[in-house]
Symmetry: C2
C-alpha cells in the first residue's frame, strides 16, 4: 500500500517541492555576479527573520558548526562564561565551551524545566567578570522555550554578551534580536526554514559582539567571523550554491506569509497538539512547552522505541524519540516549518492508532477531536 | 540570443542533471535507517576513490572546512610542521597552521613551479621533530600537480604524518592513499565529484594518523574527527541529506565509468587543452601542469579581467582568473568533472574568438585544430 513519508521531526523538516526544485537548478560559479546577488538577497532576507540590522552570515555547515562559530569567536581559554544546560543542546554549549578551555559557570536546569531569568541575574551578580552567556531559545530535546527577552534585559546591562542558540526556534518562535538586545544568534536551514540541512546562519548584532570577537584568542579559520565580515555579503570560502537558491525561495515564502503569521501558525499548531495529547490522556513533558514541538511522556505500559517504529512502519509518520537520558522516555512531535492543519491531524491520529495497536487503552477519536476543536477555535479569533 | 551557461572553473564544476535531480528528492530525517544506508554506501564509495581501506568522513562544509579539520586534529600549539606554499591553497595550509599556533617550517615554491621531493627530504632531515607535513596534490591556483607519491615515500619513513589537500585533485589525478602511504587526504564535492558545493571529505588512513589525532590538544568540536569516528558511518551532527543523495549518484557514475578511465579522461582533456593553448601562441603558466586545469599566461597586450568578462558575457563561458598576486595575469581553464570533448572544443574556441574580439592577432581555428587532433590521437591509443 502507498505510504507517504511524513517527517514531523524537529529537523530535518518537510521541504516544499518548490524549495526542493531550486536545489536542482544549474550550479553557478560561486563568484558569479548573479550568485553574489543571490547571497546579498539571502543576507537581507535573513536580517528580517533575525529581526536585526546587524550582519547575518551564511555558513556551509550544520547548526553545530554555527554553535562552534559562536564559541570559537567569543571565548578565549580561561574566559569566564555562563552556559545554561536544560537539555541536549544546552549540553552542547557546555561541551563546546569546555573544548575551548572556558572557565564555565554552568546553570543546570532540570530537563523539561525552563530557565528563570533570575538565575542568570544571580550568576552575573556573583561573577561580574562573565564575558559570554550562552542560552537556548528552543531546547529541541525537551520542547521547552526559554524567555530570552527577559534574559536579554538582564545581560544587556552587564559587560557580558548574550549568545542565543535559535537553531530550532528561529521563525517558529518570536526572537527580536535588536529590540531585545541579543548580541549573537544562530540558526540552521533544516528547521522552520523548510530547507534541507547543510546551511547554518550566524547573526551578529552590533559593536559589543564585534569587540568580543576581535578579542578572542581561540584558533579559528573556517568559522572565523572576521573573514566572513570582510567578505560580506560574499562568502570567504566556496558557498553551498544550490542551498542558497533554496534559502532565497524559503525566505520568499516566509516573507509572503509574513513572519508574524508564521509565528502565529506555530503557536496555533503547537497549542492544538498539546490539547490533543492531553485529551488522549497523555502527559506533556515540558513544564513550559514552546511552539516548536510537543514532547510527550511515553506511558509506562508502552515501549517508547517500539512506538516510534510502529508510527514509522505502519503510517510513514516519523516522530523523534528522546535523546540521551530521555531515550525511550519521551517522543517529540514537531510542527516546525512546512506543516499544515491536516499534517497536525495526521500526527495525532497516528498517535491514537499506534497506541491502540500497541494495546494501550486510548479512546480513538478523542485526540483528533481536541485538535480539530482547537484549530477551529483559532480560526474564529 | 540563447546563451548557455558553461562553467569551466576548477570548482564549482558543471553538475549533471541526474545529480541535480537527486538534490530535489524528498529530504529524509537524518537518523532514518534508509538515510543511514545511503551514508554507508557513500562512505564505501568514497574509500574507492580515495583508494584507502581507512575511513572516509563526510562533512557539511566547504573544502576549507576539511583543511581545518586536518589541522585542528593533528596540530597542537607549538608542534613543528611543514607546509608547502606554492600557491593560494598552499598558503591556506600555512594560514591554518598559523591560526592553530604551529611552529611552522614553510617550504616556499615559486607560484607555478612544483615541489621537489628532495625539498621535503632535506627539511625532514634538518627537523627530525616535524610532526605533520601539509602538501597539495593539485594546486588549484596555478594548475601544478605535485608528485605526492615521491613525497609519501620519504615521509612514511619518518615519524611525521603526511596530509594531502586533494580538494581539486581527487578523481582527476591519481592518488593512491594506501599504496603510497598518505595518512590523511581531503576533498570537496564541487570538483571532480560533479556535485554542487557543500560537502567535504576527510580520509584517515591507519594508526599513525589516528595516534596523531588522539594526541592533538587543539580545541575542536564540529570538526573533531574522534566524534565522526565514533559515529561512523553515521554523522555526529545533522548530515546534509540531499547532498548525500547527490554524492551517491556521483559515485555511481564514477564507478560505472571506472576511476582509472576518469583519470585518463582528465589527462586526455588537459593534454588537448595544453596543445590548443600553445597552438594559439599562448604560454602555459605551470612548469609542471597537471590534468585538473590549464593555467594560461595573459598576453601583455590583453586585459586579463576584461578577457574573462568577454568570455562570460559573449559566450556564457566561465573561466577562472588568477587569484591573489596572479589576478589579471593568468586565466584558468578547468576540465574537471562533468566535461566532455565538445566542452573542451567550446573552451578553446571561446579563447580564440574572445582574443580576436579584443584585438589580439590570433589565427582563428588554430587552437581548435590542435585540440581536435589531440583528442583524435588519444582515441587511437
Amino acid at each position: 500500500m502507498i505510504k507517504k513519508l511524513r517527517i514531523m521531526t524537529p529537523g530535518p523538516t518537510p521541504v516544499p517541492v518548490d524549495v526542493l526544485l531550486e536545489g536542482a537548478k544549474e550550479t553557478l560559479y560561486h563568484r558569479n555576479p548573479r550568485f553574489k546577488k543571490m547571497l546579498t538577497s539571502a543576507s537581507e532576507g535573513l536580517k528580517k527573520v533575525f529581526k536585526t540590522r546587524g550582519q547575518v552570515f551564511i555558513l556551509a555547515s550544520s547548526g553545530t558548526g554555527a554553535m562552534e562559530t559562536a564559541v570559537a569567536n567569543t571565548v578565549s581559554p580561561g574566559d569566564k562564561v555562563i552556559t545554561v544546560v536544560g537539555g541536549k543542546f544546552g549540553e552542547r554549549w557546555a561541551e563546546l565551551c569546555k573544548a575551548y578551555g572556558a572557565n564555565m559557570h554552568k546553570i543546570d536546569v532540570e530537563w523539561g524545566d525552563y530557565l528563570r531569568a533570575d538565575q542568570i541575574e544571580k550568576a552575573l551578580k556573583e561573577n561580574p567578570d562573565i564575558k559570554v552567556v550562552f542560552t537556548t531559545l528552543s531546547e529541541t530535546s525537551t520542547g521547552v522555550v526559554n524567555d530570552i527577552k527577559a534574559v536579554a534585559e538582564i545581560v544587556k546591562k552587564t559587560k557580558a554578551i548574550l549568545v542565543v542558540d535559535a537553531v530550532s526556534g528561529l521563525i517558529a518562535e518570536p526572537l527580536e534580536m535588536d529590540e531585545w538586545g541579543v548580541d549573537i544568534a544562530i540558526a540552521g536551514s533544516q528547521k522552520a526554514f523548510m530547507m534541507p540541512p547543510g546551511l547554518a546562519f550566524v547573526a551578529v548584532n552590533g559593536e559589543k559582539a564585534w569587540k568580543r570577537i576581535e578579542e578572542s584568542k581561540s584558533p579559528r579559520y573556517y568559522f572565523d567571523l572576521r573573514a566572513y565580515r570582510d567578505k560580506y555579503t560574499d562568502t570567504p570560502y566556496t558557498g553551498a550554491v544550490n542551498l542558497v537558491y533554496q534559502l532565497n525561495k524559503s525566505l520568499e515564502m516566509i516573507e509572503s506569509e509574513t513572519l508574524e503569521k508564521v509565528w502565529e501558525r506555530h503557536a496555533i499548531f503547537a497549542n492544538a497538539m498539546r490539547k490533543g495529547i492531553q485529551a488522549l490522556g497523555l502527559e506533556l513533558f515540558a513544564k513550559k512547552p514552546g511552539n516548536v514541538l510537543t514532547a510527550v511522556k511515553v506511558p509506562n505500559d508502552i515501549d517508547g522505541l517500539e512506538f516510534l517504529k510502529v508510527c514509522r512502519e505502519e503510517y510513514g509518520m516519523v516522530f523523534s524519540g528522546g535523546q540521551a537520558k530521555l531515550k525511550g522516555k519521551i517522543f517529540r512531535v514537531s510542527n516546525l516549518g512546512y506543516v499544515d492543519k491536516l499534517d497536525m491531524i495526521s500526527a495525532i491520529v497516528t498517535i491514537e492508532m499506534a497506541m491502540k495497536k500497541m494495546g494501550k487503552d486510548v479512546l480513538i477519536g478523542s485526540g483528533v477531536k481536541a485538535v480539530e476543536e482547537s484549530l477551529l477555535e483559532a480560526d474564529e479569533k
